[in-house]
């Protein structure tokens, strides 16, 4: 079985990221763009790259409290992501609703609708915190391969 284990180790070095913006204020999305594009917080060292299609994704980054408008669309896009996948909730909004918690339009926490694996609190979280969350997600994904 060691050949399979080594192949899985190789596969775990190439997790592709996909962002779902579920009604976010874009603060966390700006930080996500920062971790990918700024030379200081290069996330490509871990083998990650942002992909444009949900079908290519391995790690799903969800930002924003799930607003009622986006609920159906987010569920459909989430269903298109092939297994095995890991879900990361970035920012406090997906975990609990954050500052929008008592709004009538918000369906947070999102773990009622999606099986979340890693949470990264922060409003918005620092790029280093996001990279830490992604590293934890890669460890979870390695288990699931």
């Amino acid at each position: 079985m060691t050949v399979l284990a080594r192949l899985k180790d190789m596969a775990a070095r190439s997790p592709w990221l996909y962002r779902i913006n579920a009604g976010s204020c874009n603060g966390c999305d700006v930080e996500l763009a920062t971790t990918a594009l700024i030379p200081r917080y290069d996330v490509e060292r871990l083998g990650c790259q942002y992909c444009g299609s949900p079908r290519h994704a391995d790690i799903v980054l969800i930002t924003g409290p799930l607003t009622k408008h986006v609920l159906e669309a987010a569920k459909r896009v989430y269903a298109e992501i092939p297994d095995p996948k890991v879900t990361v909730a970035v920012g406090v909004c997906p975990i609990s609703g954050g500052i929008f918690r008592e709004s009538y339009a918000v369906c947070a926490p999102i773990d009622q609708y999606f099986p979340v694996d890693v949470n990264v609190p922060g409003c918005p979280p620092r790029p280093q915190a996001i990279i830490e969350g992604v590293a934890k997600a890669i460890a979870v994904w390695r288990e699931r391969l």
């Binding site: 070095r13 030379p39 490509e44 060292r45 297994d83």
Partner: protein
């Protein structure tokens, strides 16, 4: 028997199949690493494209309900198979000479069109509007860059053939032999327009910024590749790695084959391919932004086409009694 065996080895081991796949992925890894260093980042390890391929083998393969599945799954297979055959036709100067086939340069140009067509079919068979958009953009790009490459091929064939006093030679082995005897066509002033046109052609063919319009991630959500996942996507990555080796090998054979032999020739070929990638692909990719489809189309119809035409005219005129 030995002929069939040598063809099998050429297709699957060297220079096709295993060698070309490894080398193509290594070129891609070197390109990503150098692009990161040029941008001041660390970048992925050199073997990253291999890891990507292995990971894609573990993912579930899905197809949309509106997709036409025979074409949806057949397109990457056809593209990869065409490129496997195409590599057999590309000579590596001093190391590998393909079995002599009349007109193999023309066959190679035809085979080079197949990956683009595979992408187009993938886009239209996906059943998604982004796929259809990718299909139309890929068609526009192919129309734009197929003209220059055909003219470049004819110009080189004319120059080599008429200089040897006979009909234009469409045999790549013959072109390489001529350059070993008379010096590389890279240093021939009559061929410089063709060299410049080729330098514009191959980023467009390989789908590199500023010409990666059909597969734009931010504009059409990866266009034709949108609905592919798992092993089917891995086949597309294999196809593009093999295509890189074919196109760059074609460029090296047409313009700059080294007059060495044996292991030194192989090392020299590898260095030349790396140089073509790092200068023409990486530096351009990092320094520019993507063009619009109409800008790219008009650009190709203007400069590379005119330069290739100029080279053709000059090559013809030179051997009809003009410049020696």
């Amino acid at each position: 028997m030995t002929n069939a065996l040598s063809i099998l080895i050429a297709a699957l081991l060297f220079p096709g199949g295993a060698f070309a796949l490894t080398f193509g992925l290594a070129l891609k890894g070197a390109d990503r690493r150098l692009a990161a260093r040029l941008q001041g980042r660390v970048g992925p390890p050199l073997a990253q494209p291999f890891f990507d391929l292995v990971k894609l083998g573990f993912k579930r393969m899905m197809a949309p309900t509106e997709a036409f599945e025979p074409m949806f799954f057949g397109a990457p297979l056809v593209g990869a198979a065409a490129m496997l055959i195409a590599i057999m036709l590309v000579p590596i100067a001093g190391v590998y000479a393909p079995a002599p086939v009349t007109g193999d340069l023309i066959v190679l140009i035809y085979l080079l069109a197949i990956p683009g067509i595979a992408l187009m079919i993938a886009g239209s068979a996906s059943g998604s509007p982004y796929g259809a958009l990718g299909f139309s953009r890929e068609m526009a790009m192919m129309i734009a860059y197929e003209g220059p490459i055909v003219l470049i091929a004819i110009a080189v064939a004319l120059r080599v053939g008429l200089a040897e006093g006979s009909a234009p030679t469409f045999s790549l082995a013959g072109i390489v032999r001529y350059q070993h005897a008379h010096g590389m066509l890279l240093f021939d002033p009559l061929m410089w327009p063709a060299v410049v046109a080729f330098a514009f052609f191959y980023p467009a063919n390989l789908g590199i910024v500023p010409f990666d319009i059909p597969e734009a991630e931010t504009e059409v959500l990866e266009g034709p590749l949108l609905e592919y996942s798992g092993p089917a996507l891995a086949l597309f990555k294999i196809m593009s790695a093999l295509k890189a080796v074919v196109v760059l090998g074609l460029g090296v054979a047409l313009f700059m084959p080294l007059p060495l032999a044996g292991l030194a020739a192989l090392a020299g070929w590898i260095v030349e391919m790396l140089a073509l990638v790092l200068v023409g692909v990486t530096a351009v990719r990092v320094a520019t932004g993507r063009m619009r489809i109409d800008q790219a189309f008009v650009f190709f119809l203007k400069w590379p086409l005119m330069l290739a035409l100029l080279s053709l005219v000059v090559a013809a005129w030179s051997t009809m009694g003009g410049i020696p």
